[in-house]
């Protein structure tokens, strides 16, 4: 079974064709007939329903999307114990078998791709194209990591000398706790889970409390694909479920994508030995960013403006890769700011289920309040060139903001905002822009617009970011093409969708066997 078909990215829907667009409304109605979804705690073959929490449509908060049980601390313990017992069996299976389960899960998702996208539209207010891309990325992770698992099982080449046989292989680490965010509710949850499973780990998965319905969909896909229930538990709930998992002595690996504050707390807690713990925990963290786009004097503004606008405002800026700061050469700052402002003013703010919408509502009320406060700070500290646009009344909407002339010490230039706010700053040249990037504790994505190969070389060699995008938007990493993940306080440097992601979930074991018997090399 090491002959999986060559990996290809799942094609996104060709929404420029009317018949493709017309299929979307039906999928949404068919999903709505099933709402609210019931999300239980799933441990092994046991399902415990509950109605402790609900997720709602961010664009119509009165609409409940999922009712879900919240895992208790006893359930956390039980899930980890079940996973611990099942680990050896799963890890001992040939990689090809594990891979087959992931490939079958991908097929399950592919069959339901539009309905899954509809779920992301409703539960997380992802506009259709973004929701569709989220499903495709989830499918990609499954198939890509399936391939990687098979590749990883092959012995690594080692030096061999007469009289000994040397071998090194990778095996799963044990129980992995996967704690996923709501902003790519299918893709990231699926990617971290599939990565852990592919490498031979047993997974206890806690989806974001805002997106348990999507979390359940990921688990259903994997179980339908043939992952044994004992190897994959679902523990919906709030922060304390994740915290209990992180502290648990029998959890070996923690895969987390989310905010910097929570991520650093996980790193700290994971470093503390719990009674009975027999290993050093590993944390795989993908945290936030404060992503800068450098626009050199020779940039093609026709390309830069739409790419920056999309990177900053698509999905209302709720991507860790989103553009937050534009660092523009002073020769072009005026026309650039004017064109960015004009383009930002005509962004369509609206419900996620309309294809017209570019800026959907934020995920929850707190986010709306935070963005309102950021908007006020922008008014106080800088020159707001776009702001205060009208937004629908119901739903957690925030209008797009473009602000210039912020003072260098403004919190808006240093803290991740995770919403539709973009700042524009003039720099003397690309070197000064690089210095400003250098000052930041984040290093996730970055952008450069320049038509000088010398400038591209310079920025490439200097930038600390995990993903530099040249003459294009800075979001939308694609599995197998743009291994994704940040450095510095943006993450642990793991690269989701990259050739060595599974190593994060693996431990290497080397065996050296003496083949000399009685003076004879056998």
């Amino acid at each position: 079974m090491s002959d999986l078909p060559e990996f290809r990215n799942e094609p996104i829907l060709e929404l420029r064709r009317a018949p493709v667009r017309e299929g979307l409304a039906d999928a949404l109605s068919s999903l709505e007939a099933k709402l609210p979804l019931e999300v239980p705690v799933l441990i092994g073959s046991d399902a415990r329903p509950g109605q402790d929490l609900i997720s709602t449509d961010p664009g119509a908060p009165e609409r409940t999307v999922a009712r879900c049980a919240a895992a208790s601390s006893e359930e956390v313990d039980r899930a980890v114990a079940v996973a611990g017992d099942a680990f050896a069996g799963w890890s001992g299976r040939p990689a090809a078998e594990r891979a087959q389960a992931l490939v079958s899960a991908a097929a399950w998702m592919r069959q339901r791709r539009i309905e899954l996208a509809a779920l992301a539209v409703r539960e997380c207010a992802k506009p259709w194209p973004e929701a569709d891309a989220d499903v495709c990325e989830a499918i990609d992770f499954l198939e890509y990591y399936a391939q990687q698992a098979i590749d990883l099982e092959r012995p690594r080449p080692l030096m061999q000398v007469a009289g000994e046989r040397n071998e090194m292989r990778y095996v799963g680490r044990g129980v992995a706790a996967v704690i996923s965010p709501w902003n790519f509710p299918l893709a990231i949850a699926c990617g971290m889970t599939a990565g852990a499973l592919a490498a031979g780990n047993a997974v206890v998965f806690k989806p974001a409390e805002q997106s348990p319905g999507c979390g359940l969909a990921v688990v259903r896909a994997l179980l339908a694909g043939g992952v044994p229930p004992a190897v994959l538990s679902l523990l919906p709930g709030e922060g304390e479920v994740g915290a209990a998992l992180v502290r648990h002595p029998d959890v070996h690996t923690i895969a987390f994508t989310g905010s910097q504050a929570v991520g650093l707390e996980i790193v700290r807690a994971a470093a503390e030995m719990a009674p009975g713990q027999k290993h050093i925990k590993r944390v795989i963290a993908e945290l936030g960013g404060k992503n800068c786009v450098i626009v050199a004097a020779d940039a093609d503004l026709d390309e830069a403006v739409p790419a920056i606008i999309y990177s900053a405002f698509a999905y209302a800026g709720q991507k860790c890769s989103a553009a937050a700061r534009v660092l523009a050469a002073r020769e072009i700052i005026e026309p650039l700011t004017e064109r960015l402002a004009g383009a930002a003013r005509v962004l369509v703010v609206g419900q996620a289920d309309s294809l017209d919408t570019q800026v959907p509502p934020l995920i929850e009320a707190d986010a709306q309040a935070r963005l309102r406060s950021c908007g006020e700070q922008a008014e106080e500290q800088g020159r707001v060139v776009v702001g205060g646009g009208s937004v629908p009344d119901s739903g957690w909407f925030a209008p797009p903001v473009v602000v210039a002339d912020l003072p260098g010490d403004s919190g808006l230039l240093h803290n991740e905002i995770f919403g539709p706010l973009l700042s524009v700053e003039a720099v003397r040249d690309v070197e000064e822009a690089c210095e400003r990037v250098e000052e930041l504790p984040f290093a996730l994505t970055g952008g450069l617009f320049s038509r000088d190969p010398g400038t591209v070389r310079y920025v490439r060699s200097r930038t600390p970011v995990g993903n530099l995008y040249v003459n294009r938007g800075i979001t939308g990493a694609i599995v197998g093409r743009h291994p994704f993940g940040g450095n510095r306080l943006s993450g642990t440097g793991s690269k989701a969708g990259g050739p060595d992601y599974l190593l994060q979930f693996s431990e290497p074991r080397a065996v050296s066997e003496n083949t000399m018997r009685h003076g004879l090399a056998v």
């Binding site: 667009r21 020779d298 093609d300 026709d302 004009g342 003013r345 190969p453």
Partner: protein, 461 residues
């Protein structure tokens, strides 16, 4: 004009007709080739041809030079220009002699200034070949000269991409000014019956090609309605102005991303009773699209359903966004919307040409190609079904099809050149596309310039 449908079918049924058509194509192709002006009349052209030949000899060098041409207007000094040029050329592994020499020159500051100046002159020269002027007054004399040589024009306004409503308004205003300016300018031109009359009546002298993508910042492939409505608000007054002035307003077709919005918008506006008797207007069909036949069905259905006069002019082109369409499809894992082999496009072009000519008088037909074979085929088929030469327009791009235009004009055919107006910065995207077209190993012009035998150039695709 006769209704050609029946005749066309008969020709297809009787093999003899097809054989006759093929020999007519060969004969007309040779006539056109003979009428081509000799290279001696265009000494600069042969210099350009040598430069482009050099560029197309090596893929890396071509990429470097094209990227240089693209960035040239954004460079702020001769030094900056030379630095860009050498940085691009550094990425070329095997540098031909003149390039290596340029690289050495650029090692000193005065050398860079000299190289920058020379390169800037080269780019400007290249641009002037394709762009008739920065503004209409600037371009007026060239357009007048073309008219005197028996070549009508359609003016295209180059501009930066439209990303804001203000830019869309500005483009619409330029279009309106150009319609008025051209009407005024062309009123003084002498009579040229071949260029201003077909069997259906008068053909406007003032002819402007409009891009819908420039009329709105809201054009998005996955949400065509928004851009369609917004562009409609600006296109409607332009059509009304065209009607008032008796000018022709042609709507260009761009990449597939905007096709649905463009087609929907134009058919919707032209269905409005306000435009039942004008302006003269037109659309474009791109033969490189696999589904262009279906598109033509839709357009013909529209043309036949109403009593709009004058009829829609359909400009048949191969299509100028081939690389874009193919790359976009590959990046997204979509089936390519365009034919990947040139011969398939060429065959489709001929098939669509016949369908268009058969569909008169419900439409007017313009065949836009620099491929001698494609043009000869259109002329031969038109004559074979009893059409008058006056009921077929040959269109070329200024700077690429000039010789063909001259040749066709000298044979008494109706020819129109597509003439971009605008500054160098705004014109770069256009210029680079044209250069790509000219140096593509697949291109007819490239083959022709390299001295491919006429038999081969005229062979059925």
């Amino acid at each position: 004009m006769i209704r050609g449908v029946g005749v066309g079918i008969l020709l297809a049924i009787y093999g003899r007709g097809v054989v006759d058509l093929e020999s007519d194509i060969q004969r007309i192709g040779r006539e056109l080739a003979t009428a081509f002006p000799s290279a001696a009349r265009h000494p600069l052209r042969s210099m350009d041809a040598r430069a482009l030949d050099l560029a197309s000899s090596d893929a890396e060098l071509k990429a470097a030079l094209f990227r240089f041409v693209d960035v040239a207007p954004a460079c702020r000094s001769m030094d900056d220009l030379a630095r860009h040029l050498t940085n691009f050329l550094e990425e070329v592994d095997e540098r031909p002699m003149p390039i290596a020499a340029a690289m050495r020159i650029a090692e000193t500051r005065p050398g860079r200034a000299a190289l920058g100046t020379a390169a800037a002159r080269g780019v400007r020269h290249m641009a002037h070949r394709f762009i008739v002027g920065e503004s209409l007054p600037d371009a007026g004399p060239t357009l007048g000269r073309l008219w005197d040589h028996g070549v009508a024009s359609s003016v295209d306004l180059l501009g930066e991409a439209t990303v804001t409503p203000e830019e869309a308004d500005a483009y619409a205003a330029r279009c309106a000014d150009t319609l008025r300016g051209l009407t005024h300018l062309t009123a003084r031109w002498p009579d040229r019956p071949v260029l201003e009359q077909d069997s259906l009546g008068r053909l406007p002298r003032a002819n402007v090609s409009v891009k819908v993508s420039a009329l709105t910042p809201l054009l998005r492939p996955d949400a065509p309605e928004l851009g369609r409505e917004d562009a409609g608000r600006r296109l409607r007054p332009l059509l009304a102005l065209g009607r008032e002035l008796g000018a022709h307003v042609h709507i260009d077709m761009e990449s597939l991303d905007s096709r649905e919005a463009v087609l929907g918008l134009v058919l919707e506006l032209l269905s409005d009773p306000e435009f039942a008797d004008g302006p003269s207007s037109g659309l474009v069909i791109q033969a490189y699209l696999r589904d262009s036949g279906d598109l033509l069905d839709a357009v013909l259905e529209f043309a036949r359903s109403g009593s709009r006069r004058p009829p829609l002019q359909i400009r048949l082109v191969k299509g100028a966004y081939w690389d874009h369409e193919l790359v976009e499809a590959r990046q997204h894992g979509w089936e390519a919307p365009v034919f990947e082999a040139k011969a398939e496009s060429d065959r489709n072009f001929e098939a669509l040409t016949r369908r268009l000519l058969d569909a008169r008088p419900d439409i007017r037909v313009a065949v836009a190609s620099h491929n001698l074979r494609s043009v000869a085929h259109a002329i031969a088929y038109n004559r074979a079904i009893g059409g008058a030469d006056a009921d077929l327009e040959i269109q070329v791009l200024r700077g690429l099809g000039d010789e063909l235009a001259d040749a066709a004009a000298s044979l008494g055919l109706r020819v129109r050149a597509y003439c971009p107006i605008g500054n160098l910065v705004a014109g770069m995207a256009y210029l680079v596309r044209r250069l790509l077209e000219n140096t593509s190993n697949d291109s007819f012009l490239h083959a022709q310039a390299r001295g491919t035998a006429l038999d081969q150039l005229l062979a059925a695709p």
